[in-house]
Symmetry: C2
Subunit: 444 residues, 2 copies
């Protein structure tokens, strides 16, 4: 056994085990574990790490190994690693690449990470339309041998590099050898602009069901391709961001167990404090109704019930609309349809909760002396308030994402707790208004 | 112009416009619009529809067209269409397929829709290990011409159909023609079991960064392949389900604007009513402290503030843990690490909110007579309660997903509002306990 094998056996760590403890290990342990793997295992592990972890591992390795591993990455992933590295390290990383790759990577670094240009690979196969199928296949065979290219789709360009057709490798491969590329190519091309947001790119790919889409500039010239495996990451990442925003925090942008504790607490504390400041208005609203509460403490008993119902129905509505917007199912111009639908839903849901609430108070009130002699009026107050609060919560929850998007913000920032806070304050006002109307002269 | 073209021009609908109004149109309008498209446009539109809409369109078409379009689908999508169709229609749909496809589709119907077997395509390329590279490429060229197969990866099987190797098409295509397939294939194969849940399949694919993974049975025999374009749909679908559960409702399982109103309200009312019943415990808890509230109405003013802070911090924690579990970043055995982390986060976040709350009450109390002469004690009550409530909320929110998963439920069902409800009730108890401890003899 070689020294390396001995060490691997002594440590008893397989590639799988190493991957599992990766986030807990310090840089030295990672390097040691990484080196104990066979070359094939090490390559699989390295390629499976996310960009941040790849960058950390590269930094921890000595210069010669750093070059070896950086060159394993396709240019789009190498660009991501350079982008995430500290600015002062970026140039030294770029210098590790061979000349043609460095050019490709530098071109990719000009794009934001979350737009089509930042996702694309510059390594695709391009052909002229007047080549024969047989010539094209010979050319592809050489290209496959010499360069790591994606050959599932072949893009046909005119003399100005403008994209005029596309043919899948399977179609080309199965076509009669003496036809020209022009004969077998399709001219109806699904493509995306280089500055398109990655969430929109994901929606285009999900709808087109293609394995790759070409990225073009304003003049229709092809700049690269986005492959569907990168889209899986985008979809997961965007969903995670939305879920965390809906959960009432800034997106963490890092796996939960890997993010530094202080950084995580900061991202959570900001939103919690903002919501807390908003929620302070409830204390102001309650103070405004202090006399009513003093005269009829029974009113205070239902405050949590009423306002949480508004909050829950608002969360539902905003979550639904935010997700439908992210999937492209609902657009800004659908706002009126959505609002009408949610108004009806709000009244229906308010009716359900109001009825349950009415029965609860009426039955308890009849059976005990808990709610005083006017318990039926109290029950009616609960019924009316719930209809009002739930309808208002549902409407506000569905409207807010439209308002935020119209103003250019991410609708997911209309996160459920934000709606809940808005609805809590208005819910108190609705509740005490209904109570004043129904109970003046009896309980109040 | 043909009749069809005239109609298309008269209606002025492009394929894109038709797609946009699709969900609003009734079956007759859909058929009419669909027929007005050119064959290429119609094919693109049909293939881009989701399974439910494809099934509805097929049902609305006359029998001969139905057969034509059903046969356009690859077998895994045809199986999905059959699965979603009413039981009595399923056999008649199956009869429209040609014999070999019907066999493939029937085999796929045996799997649940959300496991690897239900996602896979039976059309992959298999080779024997002792073929030469040149023979293999000739064989593939014929296969590409004759059958719609995915040829990006080629799977190498032994005589018992067991998977022994894999080679990418690009590698095979670039290899010296006289080597054997065995020489160029890889033996370290990433595969998934046929009954693996689709969310786990998505995690395997995201980690391996492959364009397709083979699906095998317990004996290691290959049954089909799952391609990454299907995984994009899975990831979107699973994220939508989780987001809707976190938003406090059942997963809708249909696009927002397409689901029938009554069905949507039912899915939302169930959870809202359950949460409402839970939230009724707040009225019970409040009634228990009725005397305290009557003696010190000032306590009631802060009830919404206190309980919403617990709810918001609980939502944060549960959302974080639910998402990290879905992505495979956190497993059941990590519970103790997560809980320790969340305990520390809860104390820190509670400290932040408690300090803000203390300052608010102390400053307002000094400046106005709103909170009485003992306003500093009230401020201290708010401080202590917030630390307790936020810590408890954070702990409960992070623990509940573990408990639910341990019991075999979906952790996303520990949706944020459910945690909020749990925390509301406990928050009241914490608040009034702290108040009794600090304020007895002065305010109380």
């Amino acid at each position: 056994m070689s020294d390396q094998d001995v060490r691997a056996v002594e440590e008893g760590l397989s590639a799988e085990e190493l991957r599992e403890i990766w986030s807990l290990a310090n840089p030295e342990e990672r390097v040691e574990g990484f080196r104990s793997l066979s070359p094939t295992e090490a390559e699989a592990l390295f390629l499976s790490l996310d960009t941040r972890l790849q960058s950390e591992l590269l930094t921890a390795l000595p210069a010669n190994e750093r070059q070896l591993w950086l060159r394993q990455l396709p240019p789009d992933d190498a660009a991501d690693v350079c982008q995430i590295a500290p600015t002062e390290a970026r140039d030294s990383l770029l210098r590790l690449l061979d000349e043609p790759t460095r050019k490709e990577v530098s071109a990719l670094l000009a794009y934001a990470e979350d737009e089509a240009g930042g996702l694309m690979s510059p390594r695709y196969v391009r052909l002229r339309p007047d080549m024969s199928v047989d010539e094209a296949i010979k050319y592809l065979r050489r290209a496959a041998r010499e360069r790591a290219e994606t050959i599932y789709y072949i893009y046909v360009l005119d003399a100005e590099q403008r994209l005029i057709g596309v043919v899948s490798f399977r179609e080309l491969f199965g076509a009669p050898p003496d036809r020209t590329v022009r004969d077998v190519m399709h001219e109806d091309i699904t493509s995306v602009r280089e500055d398109l947001d990655q969430e929109a790119v994901a929606n285009v790919m999900a709808e087109s069901k293609l394995m790759a889409v070409p990225v073009v500039d304003a003049q229709g010239r092809i700049k690269g391709i986005v492959t569907v495996d990168d889209i899986v990451d985008v979809v997961r990442e965007e969903a995670t961001e939305d879920i965390q925003k809906i959960g009432g925090m800034e997106a963490l942008d890092a796996p939960y167990l890997q993010i530094a504790f202080a950084r995580m607490v900061r991202k959570r504390a900001g939103w919690l404090a903002a919501l807390f400041l908003g929620e302070m208005l409830t204390a102001t609203a309650m103070a405004y109704y202090e006399d009513e509460i003093a005269r009829a403490v029974v009113l205070a008993l239902f405050v949590p019930l009423i306002i949480s119902s508004g909050g829950n129905s608002g969360s539902q509505a905003s979550t639904l609309v935010i997700r439908a917007m992210a999937l492209g199912e609902v657009n800004l111009r659908d706002w009126w349809r959505v609002i009408r639908r949610e108004l009806a839903a709000g009244v229906a849901l308010g009716g359900v909760l109001g009825t349950i609430g009415f029965l609860r108070v009426a039955i308890w009130g009849a059976a005990t002396s808990l709610y005083g002699e006017h318990y039926l009026l109290v029950a009616l107050t609960i019924f009316g308030s719930l209809i009002g609060v739930v309808t208002f919560g549902t409407l506000a929850g569905s409207l807010l994402p439209f308002v935020l998007r119209r103003l250019g913000f991410d609708p997911a920032s209309a996160s459920a707790p934000f709606v809940a806070t808005l609805v809590d304050v208005s819910g108190l006002v609705i509740y005490f208004t209904v109570a004043t109307l129904l109970l003046s002269g009896t309980v109040l």
